[in-house]
């Protein structure tokens, strides 16, 4: 994906990436996440990207500079994370600190406290309902933002090229 | 937090000129109104300051505090003898200088006169703040304020040269004060938890050895207004300013604020005993001595009258520092008196220079041949000022030099005596030829082609006043000496 020159192909592959990710999320029991990732990553994002390509261009030029600095940055970041992973609790271990009383309570109590079986929904909408309000606001912000940025500019001349103000 | 009481005379000393500035600004439409305001304010201030004098002479130490800037650090004021002396000199000379300014500014049709008078008044307000400051931070605040409000005065002409000079002025003064002085102040606060000026020295008990010398370096070079070499460059640079400004800068407010701060810090922060005790503080004498001699030599070579006066100022300022650095009470009294003596003398000289410029548009010494006949009053005043600089009897300069020499003798500091004597000769060497040329040489042909008379009346009035004051301080020096002795504790 990194070395592609056609942006269209890159978008297609990004879509595939999303689909595969979603499949992996199913494997990891995160069905809700998979659901969302599929809908967003493969659906909305792809449509948006295509919309952008339609309005801009499909070609990508070869980068002029040597990507040494980015490579360094990325390597350092990766190394920091790998360094961190060495101490991670074993994958899938039920004793990991993540599966502490916090999640245990959600699993055990949400049924009676909230009354619906999908724990993810209970946590999402009730225990952490405030996060979800924020999430809705984020989406709202994006909508307002896109509408604001791509506001119809009717009296635009057909002149090509940069316009200075 | 203490409230600000406008009825308090100390607060009034700062508030009168500040309010005056406001009134002057409001009166910008009418020159007459504006100048009346200036004079009224100046008089009101002088009355206010001199009303404080008897109390201080009687041993009173009026004090007030405005409010806390930071927890535990107040804007506080306390009048001690030195501050009283400084304030008395500055407020008196402001009246004279205002009269002179009116003549000068009108005579030369200067632009932006309102800004000039406003900044002038503000500068005096800051000077009063410096004079009466009760702690290091308050002193620093007004010190910086003084730099800022005098900047527009220095760049008054508004041309490239003035801007360049303004940059040097601001760069050196702000640079040294923030770079060194603030650091020193913070150091004092960090190690003593206080910055209040106290008799006997604030840090006398908490500093010993090398740090004393280091702190002294930070203070001496941090107080750039004292113009100890090599931070003197702002002074000649600021010569581009109109003459009343030069007079203010070089005789009254700015440079005196510098040496005043030096004395104040030496006496009330370090304490003379500490300085005399610590070998690490001895360097000050050499720095001052070098400046005295070097600046005099440079002055010899200047043809521009104002530049010569500027280097003379540098040299004279370092007399004060030199007197302090003898670390002897009598010499210290001499230093205090020299603040007043030099102020009267030097302002006379500058007024004379301005008078020559206004009347004859001459700026160079080589043009002054025979001018004494055309402008006798000016040149006689100039001669009086010069004599005071040299330290001849019948002028104020003699009194201060007398005390300095006695102090040096008492401290058996023969090197100091030698420096003072040598520099006196140098002073004579660069002042007497001017007087000689003015009175005894024949006028050049070019000058004769452009005849002119004396300067306008306000200028002459001011000139005569300051010249007489210079003489008066010799004949009746008691209040000044009393204050100086109180300061030195003798």
């Amino acid at each position: 994906m990194v070395r592609m020159r056609s942006l269209f192909a890159a978008v297609m592959l990004a879509s595939i990436y999303s689909l595969l990710m979603a499949a992996i999320f199913v494997v990891l029991d995160a069905v809700d996440v998979a659901f969302t990732e599929a809908a967003v990553g493969a659906g909305i994002s792809t449509v948006l990207m295509l919309g952008t390509l339609a309005l801009t261009t499909n070609r990508e030029k070869d980068p002029a500079h040597k990507p040494l600095l980015p490579l360094l940055v990325v390597t350092i970041t990766g190394a920091a994370l790998i360094y961190g992973t060495l101490d991670f609790p074993a994958f899938g271990s039920p004793d990991a600190p993540v599966h502490s009383e916090l999640s245990r309570r959600f699993i055990e109590k949400s049924g009676e406290e909230i009354g619906i079986p999908n724990i993810v929904t209970s946590v999402l909408a009730s225990y952490r309902g405030y996060d979800t309000l924020g999430e809705t606001t984020v989406i709202f912000t994006a909508g307002i933002g896109v509408a604001f940025i791509l506001w119809r500019q009717r009296r635009r001349h057909k002149r090509k090229g940069g316009r200075k103000t | 937090m203490t409230g600000i009481f406008l009825t308090d005379p100390i607060t009034l000393s700062v508030a009168i000129p500040a309010l005056g500035a406001l009134l002057i600004a409001l009166g910008s439409r009418s020159p007459n109104l504006r100048e009346t305001m200036t004079l009224l304010t100046a008089t009101a201030l002088a009355v206010n300051v001199y009303a404080l004098l008897p109390d201080v002479l009687a041993g009173g130490r009026p004090a007030t505090a405005w409010f806390s800037i930071l927890p535990g650090i107040e804007m506080a004021f306390r009048i001690e003898p030195l501050g009283m002396l400084f304030a008395a000199v500055a407020s008196l000379l402001w009246i004279v200088n205002s009269v002179y300014s009116i003549g000068y500014m009108r005579g030369n049709r200067e632009h932006k006169q309102t800004r000039f008078y406003v900044c002038f008044a503000l500068a005096i307000a800051a000077t009063m703040g410096i004079a009466f400051a009760g702690n290091l931070l308050t002193l620093f605040f007004f010190y910086e304020a003084l730099t800022l409000v005098t900047y527009p005065l220095v760049t008054h002409k508004g041309n490239d040269e003035a801007r360049k000079a303004g940059r040097v002025y601001l760069g050196i003064l702000i640079g040294t004060s923030i770079g060194f002085q603030l650091l020193a102040i913070l150091w004092v606060y960090a190690s003593t938890g206080s910055g209040t000026f106290s008799d006997g020295g604030l840090i006398a008990n908490s500093f010993t050895g090398a740090p004393v010398g280091l702190l002294l370096i930070l203070f001496i070079y941090g107080i750039g207004k004292a113009a100890v070499m090599p931070v003197h460059r702002w002074l000649p640079a600021a010569m581009v300013a109109p003459t009343p400004v030069s007079a203010l800068l070089h005789a009254v407010a700015v440079v005196k604020a510098g040496v005043f701060s030096v004395i104040k810090v030496a006496v009330y922060v370090f304490g003379l005993d500490l300085l005399a005790r610590e070998a690490s503080a001895d360097w000050l004498f050499y720095a001052a001595a070098f400046t005295v001699i070097a600046a005099s030599i440079v002055a010899l070579r200047q043809d521009n009258l104002k530049r010569r006066l500027a280097y003379s100022t540098i040299s004279q300022l370092s007399y004060v520092v030199l007197a302090v650095s003898i670390y002897n009470p009598i010499a210290l009294a001499g230093a205090a008196i020299h603040i007043a003596a030099h102020a009267f003398g030097k302002i006379t000289l500058f007024f004379a220079a301005g008078s020559i410029y206004t009347a004859g548009h001459k700026t160079e010494i080589s043009q002054l041949d025979g001018i004494g006949k055309r402008m006798p009053i000016t040149m006689i005043a100039f001669a009086i000022g010069s004599f005071s600089m040299i330290g001849l009897p019948l002028t104020a300069g003699f009194v201060s030099k007398w005390y300095m020499l006695s102090g040096a003798y008492a401290a058996q500091h023969y090197l100091a005596i030698a420096v003072i004597v040598v520099s006196t000769l140098l002073n004579a060497a660069y002042f007497l030829p001017v007087i000689h040329a003015a009175f005894f040489r024949k006028e050049s042909a070019e000058s004769a082609a452009h005849p002119h008379g004396e300067a306008p009346l306000p200028i002459l009035l001011a000139l005569v006043t300051t010249a007489s004051l210079t003489v008066a301080l010799f004949l009746y020096p008691d209040p000044a000496i009393a204050l100086a002795k109180m300061l030195a504790g003798i």
Binding site: D32, I114, A125, S126, G129, T132, T137, G143 | -
Partner: protein, 147 residues
């Protein structure tokens, strides 16, 4: 795509089912994966599908810019309003237990409401964004669309 009859017909046939599926995801989210967000996306996708096949002008006839923006705001307000309602009923913000005598039912009701809010917002924002992109005509594109 006037001449591409097959996709058009298929889409038209498919549309009701997609909408039904969306409704299922919206209101069955308590029992199975899904919820307001996913349902909103599904609705939006269905709508976008329709728009792609029949053209922007066609769909804007029954869901104009203004209405979409109104719906987007409405969704957020519904969510926040549920929270504010619980404030007015004397509980903390978003404490759905306040919504009913029975705390558990209150929770269910609250979740139903906020999920609805999320769904509405997500749907309308997605449509809004699609409109903005598909309807954008900058330099060189003079096609004028009715509002």
């Amino acid at each position: 795509m006037k001449h591409h009859l097959i996709p058009r017909i298929v889409a038209r046939l498919l549309l009701p089912f997609i909408l039904l599926f969306g409704l299922y995801v919206q209101f069955h989210g308590d029992y199975s994966p899904g919820g307001g967000f996913q349902a909103g996306v599904i609705f939006a996708v269905a709508y976008i599908l329709y728009a792609i096949l029949y053209g922007l002008a066609e769909v804007k006839r029954f869901l104009g810019d203004g209405i979409v923006r109104f719906l987007a705001a409405l969704g957020v307000l519904l969510y926040a309003g549920t929270g504010v309602a619980s404030l007015f009923l004397g509980r903390n913000f978003l404490d759905y237990s306040a919504l009913s005598e029975d705390a558990v039912f209150g929770q269910e009701l609250g979740i139903w409401l906020v999920e609805l809010g999320v769904g509405i917002t997500v749907f309308s924002v997605m449509v809004m964004i699609f409109y903005a992109f598909a309807g954008y005509h900058g330099i060189g594109d003079i096609e004028e669309l009715e509002d």
